[in-house]
Amino acid sequence: MTSSKTIVLRSSDGATFEVDEAVALHSLMIKHRIETGGADSTTIDVPEVTGNTLSKVIEYCKKHVEAPNSDDLKSFDTDFVKVDQAVLCHLAKASYYMNIKGLLDLSSKTIADMFKGKTVEQIRETFHIKNDFTPEEEEELRKENSWNLFV
């Protein structure tokens, strides 16, 4: 039986999560904290991340640490980011802060993909953005972007 050390991660809103050390180390930020932490590195505060997001991040790390070669890893990732925009943004920020490259790449790419293949109006609708250009400015924009029409 392998003895596995556990680490407790504490979110900004006080929620605690006990995880295997190996899973926690998937975050390079936590790895660095543990390595430089000293005696009391069994509880690590993650003040930039709320409990809900941290729970999801841990779910990602668990899957990637415990079954990195599994066949369904790709579909796990695809389903993992089928969340609403707010959660997606929280995941991106958390993975950036916690230095989890795989999750950062995954969430960034997902957001990037949401911009692709859409018109200006469709993007505004998707992200609830109000048009703040005046008609004169829009005319200027059309001229500036006319290179985009040349193929």
Partner: protein, 498 residues
């Protein structure tokens, strides 16, 4: 001659008294019209800001309470600026074009120059003609028909009330000139007219830094190398500039117009092969003539580079790979050096455990803004100097160094292996990651064996001799001194001593 964007001269529009930076190190300029290029010396104004980005601090000083940034991002407004830029970096240029029309905020983000810089470098590996900005250059390169019809390309919208620390910082570092207080400390040991023996015994053998003056007098380069000569003599030859290859003419067009945080510099190890005259215009200073890698002939790794760059270009902190020694001679211009000994990691630098990677996340200017002050209170302070035309700096094995060109500069640098560091280099080459760190040799994997064999062939017995000397030194150092053994017995320590 060179158009001089000279970092040594004080900018006439410079603020006289700079406020202490707040904790994010973003300077808080007083309220001002972001689009002004006022010459009022009390204003913190640098050069004209084409997009009107202001630091977040200003937001708290204005009465408008409106930051264009957030409404223009909608549901992704909670992402940091850096994240947004990283995400935009994943997009094709056509997507960026569409996105820049969505809102003013996205207009600012999508026109962030570093994004377009990456696109140009990716699509133009064989060089390009810089057109004043990276976005213009991209449009000219990828859509030449459009560009020549349009005659030019520019960004014409000014955005008001956009506050962002990250974007402002990026713009600031691109336009900031080196503060005179960053250039004052010059504590390197300087020598002139020193003999080779003195140099070897006092510096090379002891792995000590020194700046040597007055030993480039016989270099044709000192008189001949100006822009016109280089463009003429190099013709269509292409030189390494970052990931791309440019002619001298193309490079100077870029260097004259570039205003960015990390300007590209021309750094080419094959310059003397590409243009024979360049190789003939200089010679290795006599101090550095022992060059043991030369036993490998054409199979030797890259060992010499020409370095050309505008003010602000340079290298952030690193240690030269190969465990070699190096010299760097300034032909034109001047460079600021900051060096730390091998056992002191500079502030703001994060090397990986095996030393293979060095993360210095900030640009050179940002390092000076955020970390230079801290070096004044360090126990082991860095060695600093400004190396001017005609001067050569000797950089021993393993020293951290940061270099920034203070004006348009040309330099030659070489690394070399002498008897004194031969064993170190062989040791280094044995390491498993050596093959990734050694640049410029086709057969990196066998370099250790080849080098060792070649040394044995040209200098038989040398390696064994050096190994014996090193062993002798080691045992001498490990032998407890009389004083040590006296101390031990006083403290009650028990020690065998054979």
């Amino acid at each position: 001659m060179f158009a001089c964007r000279n970092l040594l001269k004080l900018n006439k529009i410079r603020k006289k008294k700079r406020r202490k930076p707040h904790k994010s190190s973003t300077p808080k300029p007083p309220k001002q019209n972001p689009n002004s290029t006022t010459h009022d010396s009390h204003q913190f104004s640098l050069k004209s800001q084409s997009l009107g980005v202001q630091p977040l601090g200003n937001f708290y000083l204005t009465s408008s309470h409106h930051n264009t940034r957030n409404p223009g991002l909608g549901t992704i407004k909670s992402l940091t600026d850096e994240l947004i830029l990283d995400i935009l970096g994943l997009l094709e240029p056509t997507h960026l074009g569409v996105l820049s029309s969505v809102s003013k905020s996205l207009y600012v983000f999508c026109n962030h120059e570093p994004i377009w810089k990456n696109l140009v470098l990716a699509c133009s590996p064989h060089g390009f003609l810089f057109k004043g900005s990276w976005k213009s250059t991209f449009v000219a390169e990828k859509y030449p028909a459009y560009y020549s019809k349009a005659g030019s390309f520019g960004l014409n919208l000014k955005v008001q009330d956009f506050y962002s620390d990250y974007l402002f910082q990026s713009w600031l570092c691109a336009n900031l000139e080196m503060k005179s207080e960053w250039l004052v400390r010059d504590n390197i040991i300087r020598r002139k007219g020193v003999s080779v023996d003195e140099f070897v015994n006092d510096f090379e053998a002891l792995n000590k830094l020194v700046l040597i003056e007055g030993c480039l007098g016989n270099w044709g380069a000192m008189e001949k190398w100006d822009r016109d000569y280089l463009v003429k003599v190099c013709g269509d030859a292409r030189f390494s500039v970052g990931p791309t290859q440019m002619t001298m003419r193309e490079y100077f067009v870029y260097a004259d117009q570039a205003h960015e945080e990390r300007p590209l510099y021309l750094f080419d190890p094959g310059f003397a092969n590409k243009v024979k005259e360049l190789g003939r215009d200089y010679e290795t200073p006599v101090y550095f003539n022992e060059d043991l890698f030369s036993v490998l002939g054409n199979e030797r790794p890259d060992y010499r580079w020409i370095i050309i760059g505008p003010a602000g270009s340079g290298s952030s902190f690193h240690i030269d790979p190969n465990s070699t020694l190096a010299w760097n001679a300034v032909v034109k211009g001047s460079k600021k050096w900051v060096l730390f000994p091998p056992d002191v990691v500079p502030p703001g630098v994060y090397p990986s455990a095996d030393g293979a990677e060095v993360a210095c996340p900030v640009s050179i200017t940002e390092w000076f803004m955020n970390f230079y002050e801290a070096t004044k209170t360090l126990k082991k302070r860095p060695v600093e100097c400004v190396c001017k035309a005609g001067e050569v700096i000797f950089v021993p094995n393993g020293w951290w160094h940061l270099v920034i060109n203070l004006e348009d500069s040309i330099a030659i640098t070489q690394n070399f292996v002498s008897r004194r560091n031969l064993l170190n280099v062989l040791e280094f080459l044995k390491k498993p990651n050596a093959s990734t760190l050694v640049s410029g040799t086709r057969d990196r994997v066998n370099l250790h064996d080849k080098f060792k064999k070649a040394i044995e062939a040209s200098f038989p017995g040398t390696i064994d001799e050096l190994a014996k000397e090193a062993e002798k030194k080691k045992t001498e150092m490990e032998k407890p001194s009389f004083w040590d053994s006296v101390k031990d017995s006083n403290s009650g320590g028990f020690k065998f001593s054979f």
